[in-house]
Amino acid sequence: MPRPRTTRRPIRRHIVVFLAPAVLIYTAIMIIPLFGTLNLSLFTRGEGNTREFVGLANFVTLFTDPRWSSAFWNATWNNLWFFIVHMLVQNPIGIALAAILSSPRLRFAAFYRSAIFIPAILSFVIVGFVWRLILSPLWGVAPNMMDAIGIGDWFSPWLGQESSALTTLALISVWQFVGIPMMLIYAALLSIPDEVLEAAEMDGITGASQFWKIKLPLILPTIGIVSILTFVGNFNAFDLIYVVQGALAGPNYSTDILGSLLFRTFFGFQLQLGDPHMGATVATVMFFIILAGVSLYLFGIQTRMRRYQF
């Protein structure tokens, strides 16, 4: 739409006035610290509290020095697994719920929608503790309920075992956030015009095959957005791990992800002192992981995706 030129005065101070507060705060508190952190990772604390430039030495330490690298790679793989669980469980369930919700003339759809979304608005502190209590062998709610349906033998203190703690935490996080993909995909499904679906019905494509052949291809861009949001959220996660397992991400670091590693590195824990430079190094690695994911999505996936205009 051609927009009439709204102002022709040579000095348009009001544009500056309108933009300045947002740009100043955003630049000062977000952009400068972000680059400041990237910059800090190139230094180390020298003698007498001076800053010494060391180039990429901190990264070499993080990737190869046994004191750091085992913790770092452990956190990275754990984080990847955390993300995979979300992609395999959260997003398919979200899509399925959205598909059911969007079926025409479904009663109480608004109620289901609002109810299923409730966990997503609760804080990690609430969600973490609620599940800690429910899964606690001490309280016995989970074992009792499983007994009631005859699978009581399967219960074990999942959060306390190295082999299952991380997956359990990922599933708790899935439980909390499944409403977000559900809602976004629900919106995308609603925006498919009726004519397209009617045409499909004329050709005899109904029910499940209509979902797979017509609706799913049309909502692929939204699934792409949901995936990248999940990726950014997961590689930046910290709160849930901290609330349920503490800063040490126990048992025996089996639930350590990059966010909790960053917290420990930066702040220190128990006897180890915090190290801002190594902390900045971990943050920089996280920055590049997220940047890589976002760029892959923007340039690799989004541009190739077929979009339909209605």
Binding site: A22, V23, P33, Y112, V130, W139
Partner: protein, 278 residues
């Protein structure tokens, strides 16, 4: 499709949705009912509703006596409302400038502000703490307000600019002919017309601020500046063996968020389903 198959399908749909709704709500429900029971009943009959014999509010007494919850609640409220106000005001101003005026660098400025939607502000924490230490703002609510304002602005500008573009040009030009300044046009014409979008942005901005644990833990952990989220995290850690107190604290923390959600849920859902994210 026959009517019978239709009924079958719709009851299957309801069955799945009801099952999932129970899965989503039951854990929360369980915490709330047990917070009102005596310690013995919590362990003996965890799934039962409180009865006259088992009803006991001892947990709530402990929480209200031991914790500074009123202060934490007040801190959370101040931080959330102040950040929200700044995000909405500054976000709307910037969105208006980007949507309304043609100037060199308009597109670039839009992209620059949108960067923050994808890159989380947490990654700058190390340097943010340095800045706050230098500015003597550690352990103040101001530091949190500044950080949350910066965090909320990118998405707010992005969404509000979309809506500002839809405000009728004729209306604004008529106002210009009447001699209204650009500021008056913004405050008296554009801002009221995008009110629904402001409400949506408000909900999106509010939830992560209210629930955040990272920045209160790092920037403002002192007792006078703890937010409700951080305060309850610490309280829960200390009272972990006092089940009555833990359950009561959780219930108190759940309550305000759910009430707010029930008030705003229509706005929130309308905001999402309008397709602000395309």
């Amino acid at each position: 499709m026959s009517a019978r198959a239709n009924i079958l399908r719709s009851s299957a749909a309801h069955a799945i949705l009801i099952a999932y709704t129970i899965l989503a709500l039951y854990p929360v429900f369980l915490i709330v009912i047990n917070s009102m029971k005596s310690r013995r009943a919590i362990f003996n009959e965890p799934l039962a509703l409180p009865t006259r014999e088992t009803f006991d509010l001892v947990g709530f007494h402990t929480v209200l006596e031991q914790g500074n919850f009123l202060l934490y609640f007040q801190n959370s409220l101040i931080v959330t409302l102040a950040s929200l106000f700044l995000v909405l005001l500054f976000g709307a101003m910037a969105a208006f400038a980007l949507a309304e005026y043609r100037f060199r660098g308009n597109l670039l400025m839009g992209l620059y502000l949108a960067l923050g939607i994808m890159i989380p502000i947490r990654l700058g924490t190390v340097a943010i703490l340095e800045i706050m230490v230098a500015a003597n703002l550690v352990n103040t609510l101001t530091s949190l307000v500044l950080v949350y304002t910066a965090q909320g602005l990118p998405l707010a500008v992005f969404i509000l600019a979309e809506f500002m573009r839809q405000v009728s040009d004729d209306l604004k030009n008529a106002a210009r002919i009447d001699g209204l300044s650009e500021y008056r046009i913004f405050f008296t014409i554009a801002l009221p017309l995008v009110r629904p979008a402001l409400a949506t942005v408000a909900v999106f901005t509010m939830i992560p601020i209210w629930n955040d644990l990272w920045f209160p833990l790092i920037l403002a952990p002192s007792d006078a500046t703890k937010t409700l989220t951080l305060g309850s995290q610490i309280f829960l850690g200390q009272y972990v063996t006092n089940w009555n107190a833990v359950l009561a604290a959780l219930t108190l923390a759940i309550f305000p968020v759910v009430v707010l959600y029930l008030i705003f849920s229509r706005q929130l859902i309308r905001g999402i389903t309008r397709g602000a994210v395309k």
